[in-house]
Amino acid sequence: MAGQLVKEWAGIQQFPAATQEKLVDLLAKLKNQNVDKLTILVMGKGGVGKSSTINSIIGEPVVTVSAFQSETPRPVMVSRSRAGFTMNIIDTPGLVEGGYVNDQVLDSIKSFLGRFLMMKTIDVLLYVDRLDAYRVDDLDKQVVKAITDSFGKEIWHKAMVVLTHAQLSPPDALTYEEFFSKRSESLLKCVRQGARISKKDVQNFAIPVALVENSGRCNKNEHDEKILPTGTPWIPNVVHAITNIALNGKGGILFDKKLIEGPNANDRGKLFIPLILAFQYFFVIRPIQKQIRYDVARETKPSWA
């Protein structure tokens, strides 16, 4: 985004001192590894809390959130910089509408990225869902599949799952840890299926899961930091997970023309063409020619000749 003045990450000031400290440490860690820019893409179904999570991390209400308007209408990029480090976070509309994945939304996301991120990388993908949604169904798999088809399987090397509404009272007499573990496991299983990650490959695709509580009534610890029911301050926790992914050695997803246009439909099955031609020649043309020669040889003189 050449020539555009990136805003200062003022929101970091309104975090409690303990959180600010941890965040500054994490930014320093990134700078040590010569990472001075992070581009984070936030995707998921509608109404799960993508925009709220972004607002919480940035520390100010940059993206409009309404509990009743169904979702963000179009992709939005928010950029903030601090001490030479720039963070770009991209908020997207929910991918599901009326029982299936909305291709128009996907296209709008891709063209948005094409405009602002051409020849740049996506460093981290946040796949957002709710902790208090009990079931994982085919729709979730389709969302994952759509993301995989658009950005390639490699995006899951740079992805993490974010579960919102973390401050919940678990059902069925489960402890919080039990509930969280079951929920993340079933969601991760769904991600692996949707992204076609084979069982052997699972170790390569270690997708971390982080918990988030965006409401104003989130419990706080003695340092005034927002905490999860387990006691962990969640904002530094999420940023820490993001940092780990950024530094995990795998390259980001380069956004180039090929990615936007998607696989060339004409390329599909190109390999089959010579095989089919050979098959046709040997099994169809040759026998027919043989049969014609045979018929010609057997032909008696016509009665009018």
């Binding site: 309404s66 949604a133 079931r135 079933s186």
Partner: protein
Amino acid sequence: MKCSSQTFHLDSAEKAAMELEAQRKDDLGFPLCILVIGKTGVGKSATINSIFGESKTAVNAFEPSTTRVKEIIGKIDGVKVKVFDTPGLRNSLKDQPKNRKILSSVKKLMKKSPPDVILYVDRLDTQSDNVNDLPLLKLVTSYLGSSMWRKSILAFTHATSVPPDGPDGYPLSCEVFIAQQSEGVQQLIRELLGLNDDSMIPISLVENHPFAKKNENGETLLHNGESWRSNLLFLCYSIKTLSEVNIQNPLEQRKFVDLQIRSQLPTRPVFESHDWDRDIDYDGVLIEDKLEIAGCFPAVISVQLAKDKRECNFQLHSSFLTARIMELLARTRNFLTSLKAKPKSERIKQRLVYP
């Protein structure tokens, strides 16, 4: 114009109820049959368990625990109640064949033993993308018939969940939150049925979490201090009563019944008595009575019936929902049926006598 008046003694109904209870007659002859449908994971089985006060059917947060339609029979306060638990419906297009299978077995069941009330269950706290539900609601309506909504209640579970923050950063009030969430589903159903007025399907709030606040009777309370279970049961019985009287003219546009329920805490009894009738012309009839249940719990029941019999309001001010009230409703039903038999041009003056 002919004029006739009639007196109706609710106290005799109460006496009859007391006698029945004294005889310990097991079945008061007013059985209730409820069909529970809804998406998967919203709390249908949990709600059924809460209604009966015991674990009658399995629940599981992570996997569908109800895999086929189940008939659950029990007694609530001496009244026989039969509930049909159904497998949850799914939102994704791929699962439509499964949905159709479920709905066709429900349809068969409804033909065999038609339910008095249909509970459409959904979560109060996950309505933000409820436009996704329209295809599902369409499918349900096409299988079970659009008349199903006339005897339906929208049951919203997780009702004591904390409302989200509003645009000003402060949490929304519970009333606003509940109104907005439920209005979403109401609008979808109106759209489905082609109604452009603001008719509403009765709503019931449900809270099945074991740690939710309870009163001294062990009943789970909503944010406003009311016991949701009593409200729901009363709603069910009212709907059954009204449908038996068949007040609504099926040929005309449906008008949903407006049911208001208010219950009082035992420490604040309400005593209201007023006879109401108009001499010149009348818009409707108000039947009201107050009574004492078990000699100590006050209750006021009023039924307001519009002149064209197209609208009916039931009101119960009570801190106690017992079988006696069910019996009262049965008597009211009989009375209303007798009302219907009279031609509309007659002026009817109804009065109640309280001993």
